[in-house]
């Protein structure tokens, strides 16, 4: 299955000229910027930019572009995308989920087509299917996550390595932490 970090790693390491990272709020955007700085290929410069003009002279840097006006930047990038065709390392454009940038992108078919398959919405990939995961947990342990945790806290579950890891899983899947 796809996972957020794997998809971001692929995005940062694929020689696509432009990629898209969809974030849900500014705190998450900052976290994703840090994550991408760590995911960047070794020896590659990582550059934070807010305009296309800042990004353009750096075709060999991983550019993390966080424009203040996302809609205007999408339009500008659509008109200027040929100038970025020879990038060796992607320019990653950050757009807010449900924001103006994504709305404008739907009216820029050329740019949207370049981006197809190079768009990552980490939060969506991070969200697990709770019901399916709980079913798998029950199949594996014979207990619901809550029942497992109750048994663990009562000292009824031996602390094998696997059981310890299952206990953390139960905490993720069980009630409010």
């Amino acid at each position: 299955m796809r996972d957020a970090s794997g998809a971001l790693w692929k995005l940062a390491h694929t020689k696509t000229p432009i990629g898209l990272v969809i974030y849900s709020d500014y705190e998450q955007r900052n976290e994703l910027i840090t994550e991408l700085e760590l995911l960047a290929p070794s020896g590659i410069q990582v550059l934070r930019a807010t305009t296309l003009d800042e990004a353009r002279p750096h075709p060999r840097a991983l550019v993390l572009l966080t424009p203040p006006d996302e809609g205007a930047t999408v339009l500008e990038l659509d008109g200027r995308r040929e100038q970025f065709v020879d990038r060796q390392v992607p320019l990653l454009l950050f757009l807010l989920r449900g924001g103006e940038g994504l709305r404008v992108l739907a009216d820029a078919p050329g740019l949207a087509s370049w981006l197809n398959g190079s768009e990552v919405e980490p939060e969506r990939l991070q969200n697990i299917d709770g019901a399916a995961e709980i079913k798998t947990f029950i199949e594996r342990t014979g207990k619901s996550p809550e029942a497992w945790l109750a048994a663990y806290e009562a000292g009824e579950i031996s602390e094998t390595f696997e059981n310890i890891l299952l206990t953390h899983r139960a905490r993720l899947l069980g009630g409010t932490p």
Partner: protein, 189 residues
């Protein structure tokens, strides 16, 4: 007189430490990734390791940082990261990481970080693992401190006595630092 209160005070301090970390909204995933990148850059693990530590969220309530199925090892029935070139452990040692946090506050709820392998010279199995859970389990706070460490030969051993060495308060990334420096002094932070 048996001073249970001292042990309870230790657990309370540990809980408080994690609450304070939560208030700082520390991103434990990225803290761990900093260490993984260093390991990858220095040839101790695969270059993809940073991309293998992934986040899983459930219903906006809890998040876990774990290795994805892409990772190149397996331990305890879960994905793990293979470590090589360590001074004290033979090739193919395994790093396991699970950190569960409250998604809203980022407070650590529980974690286990461990390394297992064979001594490079002795070929004797070895493992060390630090476990934390903020809920009391089993025995009292002395026999089962909230933050404790297991060291031995078999991570699945459940023989008598069950040993849980109380551990000083550390955040997950610092636990990883400690484990790495234990298996290779060149990894001392």
């Amino acid at each position: 007189m048996r001073e249970k209160g001292t042990w309870e005070a230790r657990d309370t301090a540990i809980r408080k430490g994690f609450e304070e970390l939560g208030a700082k909204r520390l991103h434990h995933g990225n803290e761990l990734r900093v260490r993984l990148k260093m390991l990858a850059d220095r040839g101790f693990c695969a270059g993809q390791a940073v991309g293998w530590l992934t986040q899983q969220n459930r219903d906006g309530r809890a998040s876990a940082f774990v290795f994805s199925a892409n990772a190149d090892g397996q331990a305890g029935g879960h994905p793990a990261l293979q470590l090589n070139n360590l001074k004290s452990l033979d090739e193919g040692a395994l790093l396991t990481v699970v950190v569960v946090v409250d998604q809203r506050t980022t407070r650590v709820v529980s974690f286990s970080i461990g390394i297992q392998g064979k001594g490079r010279a002795t070929q004797v199995p070895w493992y060390a693992r630090v476990d934390f859970t903020d809920a009391r389990a089993g025995q009292g706070p002395c026999g089962h401190p909230l933050l404790h460490c297991h060291v031995g030969q078999n991570p699945d051993a459940t023989g008598e006595p069950e040993v849980r060495v109380p551990h000083a308060w550390m955040k997950p990334a610092e636990v990883l630092d400690w484990l790495l420096a234990t298996v290779d002094p060149s990894l001392e932070p």
